[in-house]
């Protein structure tokens, strides 16, 4: 058993835990054993973690300790625990995208993101629950059951990266890989008081990410603070020969952010008053630190959600066509091939996934493609231009992440449109392909976390993260942990 007094404080970031290891206060093996204990306790209670890799994690930690003893530590993530969302492939365990369709699916290889992290010495400790094929905003469509929000276990953790966020919001020392197609890393981060970035589209290889909407999807880090997110992004980013859409972006930072546009449309009707107030106060706090704040409107914010519904479901209907009952997954019973496809897909997909495939097929079908899909593409380009227009006057856009606070489990699941409303402030960044950083902002009267996001220009990921680090020196809300998350 590890000597607990030698472990870092529970709210310690990855950076602080790494310093703890460097200073010799504990070994990576002790850190990993402590974290595994948390996963098996609170992680299981929250139903955030689906699989835990005890033996492999311990062996990897021992190897890290040996490297450290020889003075050959690989860097800031060596010996640090991390998890991957169920829609990110790993050789260890299964990668089922929380869908009955892929139950027990064994990936042939690690996603490039996972491979790069393991090569940097990070220790894969488990797989986290998510909405089925990452389609959801509450983690209630997961085949592994509902995940609880650590700040109020009767409420949802957000989605689709709900498991990742529930862990990041409950305990330090670690980071988590999630994904974001329309807000799936930022909204859960906001709901659970974690920090996360949706990188510029193409900054991180999508190789090994089980596809939902390919022109929107990104693998994303979620952690305790912006320093940790940046350390992880520096390992993940860069061109990958196995994903020809991954970009060769300069990882050096742009000039620091000095002028921020508060987006007034994100503070008006339909947005909880407590959230609008908190984000306005954050802008004032930035202003008091010398940041110039201007207020602007973001063109087409309302149409963005409609645009997202069309494009994401169209891409999903195409991406999920591969699940046919023959190559992988669930197989229905039929002697007729056509019927075999239909019955297998009926059995393997949950109702939300089927609704989205149906809509996506409809907007692409003959007679309707121009009116829906092609029009959405045209609006998408206008949305991108609208962001560029605002960015001509500032370095970043500031707006809330979610229009409302974490809601009770079951409250919205029977009303798909009420769930889609979760995405209205986040989809814009995916449609435009620009980076967006979610930061803890404040707590409401019920002690539920409120998050805000900063959206920047294409490729400005590191400028956003550096601004996030400055923000977290001015405001320490990100350090808060919920009661009851102790091991």
């Amino acid at each position: 058993m590890s000597n607990r007094s030698s472990l870092p404080p529970m709210d310690a970031t990855v950076g602080e835990a790494q310093q703890w290891l460097t200073d010799g206060h504990c070994t990576s093996r002790q850190l990993i054993d402590g974290y595994l204990e948390f996963l098996q306790g609170v992680g299981r209670e929250l139903n955030a973690v689906v699989e835990i890799f005890i033996e492999s994690a311990q062996q990897t930690a021992d190897q890290s300790d040996q490297r450290r003893a020889q003075g050959k530590c690989f860097g800031p993530l060596d010996g640090i625990p991390f998890t991957a969302k169920m829609n990110i492939t790993t050789q260890l365990g299964s990668s089922d995208a929380s869908s009955p369709m892929l139950r027990g699916f064994q990936a042939q290889e690690d996603a490039t993101a996972v491979r790069r992290l393991r090569a940097a010495g990070a220790v894969l400790v488990g797989k986290t629950s998510c909405d089925e094929f990452a389609m959801g905003a509450s983690n209630e469509t997961s085949s592994h059951g509902v995940v609880s929000n650590p700040w109020d276990r009767e409420r949802v953790p957000g989605g689709s990266s709900g498991g990742s966020a529930a862990l990041a919001g409950s305990h330090g020392w670690s980071f988590h890989l999630g994904s974001d197609t329309g807000g799936s890393i930022r909204q859960p981060a906001a709901f659970c008081n974690a920090t996360a970035i949706k990188p510029t589209w193409g900054r991180v290889s999508r190789r090994g990410l089980i596809a939902f909407g390919s022109s929107l999807d990104q693998i994303c880090p979620i952690a305790r603070d912006a320093v940790d997110c940046q350390s992880v992004l520096q390992v993940l980013e860069g061109h990958d020969p196995l994903d020809s859409t991954s970009l060769r972006l300069d990882s050096s930072s742009l000039p620091p952010i000095g002028r921020v546009a508060l987006i007034s449309d994100g503070l008006g009707p339909g947005i909880d008053a407590s959230i609008a107030t908190a984000v306005r106060s954050a802008a004032q706090q930035m202003a008091s630190q010398g940041i110039e704040i201007i207020e602007r409107s973001l063109p087409h914010l309302e149409a963005a959600n409609a645009c997202y519904q069309v494009i994401s479901t169209a891409e999903a209907s195409s991406n999920l066509a591969r699940y046919d009952g023959v190559h992988v997954g669930v197989r229905g019973q039929s002697e007729d091939l056509q019927q075999l496809y239909e019955t297998s897909r009926h059995q393997g997909f949950g109702s939300e996934v089927r609704r989205r495939i149906l809509l996506g097929t409809f907007v692409l079908s003959a007679g309707y493609q121009d009116a829906y899909y092609n029009r959405a593409l045209a609006v998408r380009e206008l949305i991108r231009q609208g962001i560029d227009q605002v960015l001509e006057e500032c370095d970043a856009l500031l707006l809330p992440v979610s229009p409302f606070a974490p809601f009770p489990i079951g409250e919205r699941i029977d009303d798909p449109l009420a769930l889609y409303a979760c995405d209205i402030l986040t989809v814009t960044a995916n449609l435009a392909g620009v980076p967006a950083l979610a930061l803890p902002c404040d707590f409401d009267e019920e002690k539920l976390p409120i998050g805000m996001q900063l959206m920047g220009a294409h490729g400005s990921d590191h400028a956003l993260l550096e601004f996030g680090q400055r923000w977290q020196r001015w405001n320490d809300k990100h350090r808060a942990l919920p009661q009851g998350s102790a091991r």
Partner: protein, 119 residues
């Protein structure tokens, strides 16, 4: 078969398609999705509601000569790469076909099994 959508969804736009059982069944067939009879009313209602939301796209004015074929990625990247052979130990390298069979619901003699489609 109902030709009208649910009454609480007025349909102001004459271009708006009629969402009914026939359209849902046709689309489900294109999507290779089985739908049971009792799912139809819910799917009709859902499509009606989501198209109400999607119709906000029609209010956006698209400028003359606007391009909609631009990709979200603004960087100019070469999508091609050197054609190099890879070994089984390389990421993305060749894999033992049997390993793929391990994830298949029916895999026999190195092949995926389907119902008979010819003769």
């Amino acid at each position: 078969m109902a030709q009208d959508g649910p009454s609480h969804h007025p349909r102001p736009d004459p271009d708006r398609p009629v969402i009914d059982e026939a359209l849902v069944r046709k689309t489900a067939h294109l999507a290779r999705l089985e739908v049971s009879d009792d799912e139809i009313p819910g799917l009709v209602e859902h499509l009606e509601k989501i198209l109400d939301l999607v119709d906000t796209l029609r209010s956006v004015e698209i400028p003359e000569g606007h391009r909609s074929d631009l990709h979200v990625s603004q960087a100019t990247v070469s999508m091609t790469r050197e054609d190099q052979s890879a070994t089984p130990t390389d990421a993305g390298g060749p894999r033992d076909p049997a390993a793929f069979g391990g994830n298949a619901p029916d895999w026999r003699d190195g092949s995926f099994v389907t119902p008979r489609v010819v003769g």
